[in-house]
Subunit: 177 residues, 6 copies
C-alpha cells in the first residue's frame, strides 16, 4: 500500500484541543491518520468517564468542526488485551496498514520499536494545561474545562450529562458492604 499512514493512539478521556493540534500536525506529515481510541472497553470511572461510542462522537464532530478532510482519517475503538507482547499484532488486525506510529507513551513506543516500526513523538503542544487529567480535574471542580476542548466535546458532554456522571463517580461510600 503506497498510502503513507500514521497512527495515533490515546484514551481521549475526553478529546481536547491538544489532540486537535497533534492531529493537524501529523496530517502535515502523512496522507492519512488512524486515530485509535484506546481502552475502548473502559468507562464510568474517574480516569475514564466516557464510553468508546461517546469518545467517537467527540472526535468525529470535533474534526468536522475543524474542517479536517473526513477522507483522511479513520477512528477506531481498541480494547485492551493485557498481553503486551501481542498488542502490536492486535492493533494491526484492527487497522489499515500504517508505517508511522505517534505516541508519547513509552510502553507503546517500545512495543512498536521492537517490531521495527518508525516511532515518533507527537508534535509538541502545551501539555501541562492540555491533558485529559487537567480537563477531568476542572470538570470535577466546576472550573473552566470548556476552554480546553472543542465545542463538539462540550456538546457531547452536556448531552450525556457527563459532569453529573463524573461528580457522582467521585463520591465515596462510608464503608464496604
Amino acid at each position: 500500500m503506497k498510502t503513507n499512514r500514521g497512527i495515533l493512539i490515546g484514551r481521549m478521556q475526553p478529546f481536547h484541543n491538544g489532540h486537535i493540534q497533534v492531529i493537524k500536525k501529523i496530517l502535515e506529515e502523512v496522507d492519512e491518520i488512524i486515530i485509535g481510541i484506546g481502552s475502548a472497553q473502559i468507562s464510568h470511572d474517574l480516569k475514564n468517564p466516557f464510553t468508546a461510542g461517546e469518545r467517537l462522537v467527540m472526535i468525529k464532530q470535533s474534526l468536522v468542526e475543524h474542517n479536517i478532510d473526513p477522507s483522511r482519517y479513520y477512528i477506531i475503538p481498541m480494547e485492551d488485551i493485557n498481553k503486551n507482547a501481542i498488542w502490536v499484532s492486535y492493533i494491526k488486525m484492527l487497522t489499515p496498514p500504517f508505517n508511522k506510529i505517534y505516541s508519547g507513551n513509552y510502553l507503546v513506543k517500545q512495543l512498536f520499536y521492537e517490531e521495527g516500526y518508525e516511532v515518533k513523538t507527537p508534535p509538541l503542544f502545551d501539555r501541562l494545561k492540555l491533558s485529559g487529567t487537567e480537563v477531568r480535574k476542572r470538570m470535577l471542580n466546576d472550573e473552566n474545562w470548556q476552554e480546553l476542548v472543542p465545542n463538539a466535546t462540550v456538546e457531547l458532554v452536556n448531552e450525556i450529562k457527563g459532569i453529573e456522571r463524573i461528580k457522582n463517580l467521585s463520591k465515596k461510600e462510608i464503608s464496604d458492604m
Copy 2:
C-alpha cells in the same frame, strides 16, 4: 411481571449482621429480593477471603436462622466483567426482572441510574462497626468478630478453617522469587 422486586449486590466478604438488617428492611418495601454475590470469581485474598460457594452457604443459612421466608429471596453469584458500560445488562441476564436497585456504591448507582432504574440507598445501620472491613480486621487480630455476624457465618468460617486461611494469606514473602 407484577412482582415488585429489589436487588441488593455486595461482595459479602463475609455476610454480616448489617446485611441481615438491610435485607429485612428491604423486604418491608418489596415482594422479593435478589441478593447478588458480587465479584463471585474472586477469593483467597485479604479483601475477598471467601469463595462464592462459601458466601452462598453463609447467606442462605443466615436467612434461615433469621426465619426469613425462603420463597422471597434469590441468591445469585455474579462475576465481574470489567466493562462498566455493559454491566447492567449482564446483571439483567442473570436475574429475574427487578425494578428497584439498592446500593451504597456510587458506581453501581450511576450505572443503573443511566439505564433508568429507581436507585435507592439501602436503609441505614451502624456502618462504622458493621462492615466487611471491620469483620476481616477482627478475624486477623483475634478480636471478637463473631458478634458482628450471624451464627451461620461463624459456623461456615470455622468449618472451612477460614481464620487460618486469612492469617496465612496475610503473610508476606521476604522477596520475590
Copy 3:
C-alpha cells in the same frame, strides 16, 4: 459439612415436568439439592432460547408451585468455561459443598468421576417425551407444549413472549450480508 447435598446440572431450556420429577426423587435421597443452570451465558438461540434469569424464575416458581421446601434447594447459574479439565473446580467455587452428582451427561459424569465423586444417573422418567428438545419443537410448531411443563414455565414464557422469540429465531436469511 454434615449436610448430605446432591447437585443436578442442566441447561433447563426450558424447565419441564421431567426436571420436577427428578428433583423430587433426588430430594428423597439427600438433605439439600443444588440445581445448576448450565450454559448460563447462552440465550436467544434455537437450542437455548431463554436467559439464565428467565430460567431461574421458571425453576423457582415451579418448585413453589409443587410445594417443595425452599430451604432445601439452591439454584445457581453456571457459565461455561470451555476447559473440561478445570470445570469441576469451577463448579465447586460457585456452590456449597456437595457429595453426590446426578447427571445423565457422560462428560459430566466422567469429569466428576475422575475427581473421586459419587456419580449417579438421575432417576428415570419418560425421557422420550419429556425433553427440552421435545418442548422446544412443540413451541415452534404450535403443538401442546404446555402439558410438558409446570404452570410457572408457561407463565414466564408467555410473559416474555417466548414463543414469538423462538419463532423469530427460527427464520433464515436468504443470504449472508
Copy 4:
C-alpha cells in the same frame, strides 16, 4: 441527540456492491449511518478470509469511490462476545447513539426488538447474486468475482494477495497430526 442515525452490521467478507446499494438507500432515510464490521476478531478462514483492518480499507475506499459524503458515516469494528443477552449493550458501548437498526439477520433483529428499537429490513437488492458467499465462491473458482464488488475491494484483495490466501486456506490435510 437529534441526529437521526441508523446502524447496519455485517461481516462484510468481503465488502460488495450489495452493501454499497444498501448503504446508499439507508442514507436516504437517515442523517448518518454507523457501519459495524461484525466478527471483527475473525479472519483467515474460508467464510471469513479478511481481517477487520482489511475490511475497513475496503469499505472506506469504496465509499470514497462512490462519492458518499465521509461526514455521514462511521465504520466501527465489532468483536463477537458470545453472550446474546448483552450484545445490544456491547454495541451501544462502541457506537454513537442510534435509533434505527437495519438487519436481515433474525437474531440481530430479535435482540434489538427486545430492547425496544425500531428494526428495519435493509432495502432489497439482488441478494442471490450479491452475497459474500457468492463472492468467495467465485474467488475460489477463478470466476468473475470482480464484477460483484467495488474497485476498492478488488484493489485491497490484490494488494494483500487475498485470492492466494483463500485458495491456501481451502486445502485439506491428509490426516490430523
Copy 5:
C-alpha cells in the same frame, strides 16, 4: 540468536510413532526443535481426550525412550486464542526464537507465511495409518492401538485409565435434560 530452531505444532492426541519419526527427521535439519502442544486447554472430548499435562508426559517420556538428546527440544503447551490474525505473535510470545515452521495444516502454514517465515511440510511418514484419528478409533474399538504409539504413550494411557475415559465419553444420552 544463531541457534537454528524449528517449531512443530500439533494437538498430539495422543503422541504416536508418526510424531517420533517427524521429530527425528526435523532434528536432522535444525539444532533445536520446539514442540508445541496445540489446543492445550482442551481435553476430555472424543477428538481431544488427553490434557496438556498428560500429553507432555507422553512426549517427554517417548523422546527419552527414543534416546533423543533432551537438550535439543522444548515442549510447550499452547492454548487456542481464536484470533487467527494474532496467533503467530502469541506463539512467539511463548517460545524461544525460531526460524522454520513445520506444519501440515494449511491455516498454520498460511499464518506463518504471511509473517514472512520459512514454512516446511513435515517429512513424510505413513500418514494413513499413523494419525491421531486412527489411534483414537482403535482405542474405542479395542483394536491394536499400542503398535502405533511409543511405549511411553501406552504407559501413560494405562496409568490414567485413558481407554475407560474415551469409552465413557463416547456414550450418548437418550435426550437432553
Copy 6:
C-alpha cells in the same frame, strides 16, 4: 505415577542464581522437577520485562550451563487465570502429576494446602541479594546485575537488548494524552 515430582512456580523475571540454587536443592529431594514460568502472558513492564519465551531460553540454557540432567526437569509457561479457587486445577491441567509443591508465596502455599498437597518452603539462599527485584534494580541503574545471574541469562538479555527495553519502559510521560 511412581515418579516423585516436585513443582516450583515463579515469575523468573529474570532467572537468577537463587533459582539455580533452589532447583539443585529440590533435585536432591525429588526425581523430577516441574519449573512453572508464572504470569507467562505478562511482559514489557518494569516488574515483568521478559516474555515467557525469553524466560524459557534463560532457564533452559542456564540449566544446561550448570550441567543439570535435562531428562529431570520440565519447564512450562503458565498464564494467570485470576480465579484463585480454580488455579490449582489449572496448574494440574498443564503439568505432569506431582506430589510436592515448593513455594515461598503464601497464596500459592494456601491454595495447594487446601487441596491436600504437601507444601514446602524452598531451601534457603541469600534472598536479600538474590531476588528478581534486586536484579531489575541493578539493570536499571547500570550496576553489576551480571554477577547475580547465570551466563545464559546475561546472553539472552544482551541478545534481546533487554537493558535498553527496561530503561525505555522506566520513562514517564509528562502527561496523559
